[in-house]
Amino acid sequence: MSHVLHAQGLRKRFGATVALDGAGLCLRAGEIHALMGQNGAGKSTLIKLLTGVERPDAGTVELDGRPIAPSSPLEAQREGISTVYQEVNLCPNLSVAENLHAGRYPRRFGLIDWRRVRAGARELLAQLHLDLDVDRPLASYPVAIQQMVAIARALGVSAKVLILDEPTSSLDEGEVQELFAVMRRLREQGMAILFVTHFLDQVYAVSDRITVLRNGTLVGEYTPGELPQAALVKAMVGRDVALAEGRADHADIPADAPVVLEARGLARRGALHTVDLQVRAGEVVALGGLLGSGRTELARLLFGLDRADEGTLLLEGARVDLRHPADAVERGLALCPEERKTEGIVAELSVRENIVLALQARRGWWRALPRSRQDELARHYVELLGVRTAGIETPVGALSGGNQQKVVLARWLATRPKLLILDEPTRGIDIAAKQEIMGEVVRLAREGMAVLFISAELEELTRLGDRIVVLRERRKAGELPGGSEGARVLDLIAGHA
């Protein structure tokens, strides 16, 4: 077997946090290799060490049997390692085409040949069956597409090794399949692919081999065949975890349960056609739809982040005019946004500050939460959601991606809202934590909170929703009762019904 990339005994400390302690990895040509572990296990750190973003404190990395020590991503690229980092790491101000080619432009007479840049960009995107206007700035596209662009960029580098850190976290089923098709093709061509995900099905669908990390140490390397799901989870978590299959207790929300939020004919030009929606106290409404179907837009309108052109919004029966998210927060609404990096965390603030931010905003700047109360809240949610952090005073930016997501979630849970809107809240969260979070959401709903839960995952929709609302092409396509068959939901989403 030819080892393309071989890493051994990697250690990395960040201050008091030991992110990696004797981790390693062995990547062979022509394989898709899944790297698994809980949030904060050290997957992204391992990748950063391999690609020169960070330097290891100890350990060796060999490429084709030759030791390498890249000191920058540029060097790693030159060595033939192409990487898509967790979170989109492209330049939002540059056009899609340029993001795909930055650093390796085709030139004519020494100058960049934009025509070929565009053409090349379209070609790259076509590999993923994407058809975008490549001249628009990247920022004008939703994260999912930015993620696809990042993947396409990595495909454009003629490399020996392709590393993908959670490429699928913001993609929906269709996009995931496109990506897998490409990965399989590259595998045929002999490329070594390292792939991080928290979706177990995806692991079994494409990977040839699995490496598991736990708390920064190497647990072992397995083939999917020798490691069934339960065993994989056990390897990652270190103990047995019961994976809930479906949920029996879809509550029958009484028809007279008070309606918390009602949207009548809500519409916004270019974003959403008229939508009616009701969410009752104690109810979890799951909102499904394809990428770009308008779910995020709807959530933003409900929260006053964007202004609707038409329609009315009623909160507990009374008309409200939300001009600013602050209005919504003051009235007991909460929106956990889709884009964690830009609209969610404030990376430089501490875990504590990020958690109390919305609650404090609701109280106003004058009535500060006492520090002891802040600490208490922060500790409570860190424990409840299993946030892996050195302490509550650690800047959130130093947390792993999944843990950042948990902090944003904690921020909104801490406000104890009347209506909680969650836009893809489980993105990048590991399987065990997902269980905990969904359990908490259901528990809060049973205590009387209304929940609007947006997800790209069929399973989450059917399991959580007391009612499932589906959007298609920016209008409401229909509603299904909780516990409906997955296939029926899928049909509605895709428009085959």
Binding site: Y85, E98, Q177
Partner: protein, 342 residues
């Protein structure tokens, strides 16, 4: 399936898009406002719309234009360069002193000045990049240093009477119809052309935009962030020194108090031209119009000729305000992203 859904996301497009695109729209607005202001001047004052008046905009602002081009690159990375005015002053003094007091021919003296300016900029770039110092303070210190160095060379203004320099200074290239343009203005136009090309069509220029968009990402994308940052400040230093040279053609003198406050004019021109101070978005061409707008405001005031000193200041402020307000109102979308190309 997914390809269809994505395509649905992208409805619209076509030619109309070009107009709706905030990147081009803001440039178009700036240009239109410039034209509107000129017309207003023509209505108000006799002789305002003569071609030479507009050529004078170029001639009188050639040095500002040159530094503003350098400044555009600095600001595109999210930095700032406060030293430009002082570097101009230093360049003029040094050049004048070399020529007048040390018997140099202007050409080697110009070469020396350009090298020094570039090196000075690069030095500031190294401090900013290597030691993670804030550009504002480093270049502010650079400004003190360059001004100080200029006064050390000479506190008095030094007139230049070398035949070569005088010849270049009084050179007027006729453009027909009793209009002409100076050598300095030509140099400025050349700098603009090179700057625009550099920004749009070279790896250096595009890295500048990428850094302004997101440094971390630029780094992760494998772009040469460190080198480019140093180069950007070196470029700005070069442009300042070149502007200093053009200044000596304009004034035929070197003086330590030349170009005081010019840094602010340059920054203002760049920002009025539509470049975001936070970096990552803007055009060299926008900067040209930024400079022209500032020049036009001056010209309007000069043509009016009735304003007292303080009304002059108020008028500059009001015109600036009117321009920026209209610019904001007409460019409907906010200063969205857009390091456009091509």
């Amino acid at each position: 399936m997914s390809a269809v859904s994505l395509r649905a996301l992208l409805r619209g497009g076509g030619v109309a898009r070009l107009w709706r695109d905030p990147r081009y729209a803001s440039l178009a607005v700036t240009v239109s406002l410039f034209v509107a202001m000129s017309v207003a001047g023509g209505v108000l004052y006799d002789g305002f719309l003569r071609p030479q008046v507009f050529l004078n905009l170029l001639i009188d602002n050639s040095f500002l234009l040159i530094v503003a081009v350098g400044m555009t690159f600095v600001i595109l990375t999210g930095g700032i360069d406060l030293s430009v005015g002082a570097v101009i002053a230093f360049s003029t003094v040094l050049l004048a002193s070399l020529v007048q007091h040390h018997g140099w021919h202007p050409l080697p003296a110009i070469g020396a000045v350009l090298v020094l300016g570039t090196g000075f900029g690069a030095l500031m770039g190294v401090l900013i990049e290597r030691y993670r110092l804030q550009p504002f303070v480093v270049t502010l210190a650079g400004m003190f240093l360059a001004r100080g160095a200029a006064t050390l060379v000479s506190v008095d203004s030094i007139g230049i009477d070398h035949a070569f320099h005088v010849a270049v200074a009084s050179l007027r290239i006729p453009l027909g119809g009793r209009t002409s343009i100076s050598a300095g203005a030509l140099i400025a136009l050349l700098v603009v052309a090179v700057g625009a090309l550099l920004a749009a069509k070279t790896r250096f220029g595009r890295t500048v935009y990428a850094i302004g968009g997101n440094v971390q990402s630029a780094h992760l994308m494998g772009l040469p962030v460190e080198r480019t940052l140093v180069q950007v400040y070196a470029l700005s230093g070069f442009c300042s020194a070149l502007a200093g040279v053009v200044y000596t053609f304009y004034m035929l003198s070197g003086y330590s108090l030349h170009a005081t406050g010019l840094e602010l004019d340059a920054i203002a021109a760049v920002v009025i031209g539509g470049t975001l101070l936070a970096g990552g978005s803007g055009y060299v061409l926008g900067t040209v119009f930024g400079v022209l707008v500032l020049g036009l405001i001056q010209t309007l005031i000069a043509f009016d000729g009735t304003l007292s000193s303080w009304w002059t200041r108020i008028a500059i402020g009001v015109l600036l305000l009117a321009f920026c307000l209209l610019q904001r109102l007409l460019a409907r979308t906010g200063p969205a992203g857009g390091g456009g190309h091509g």
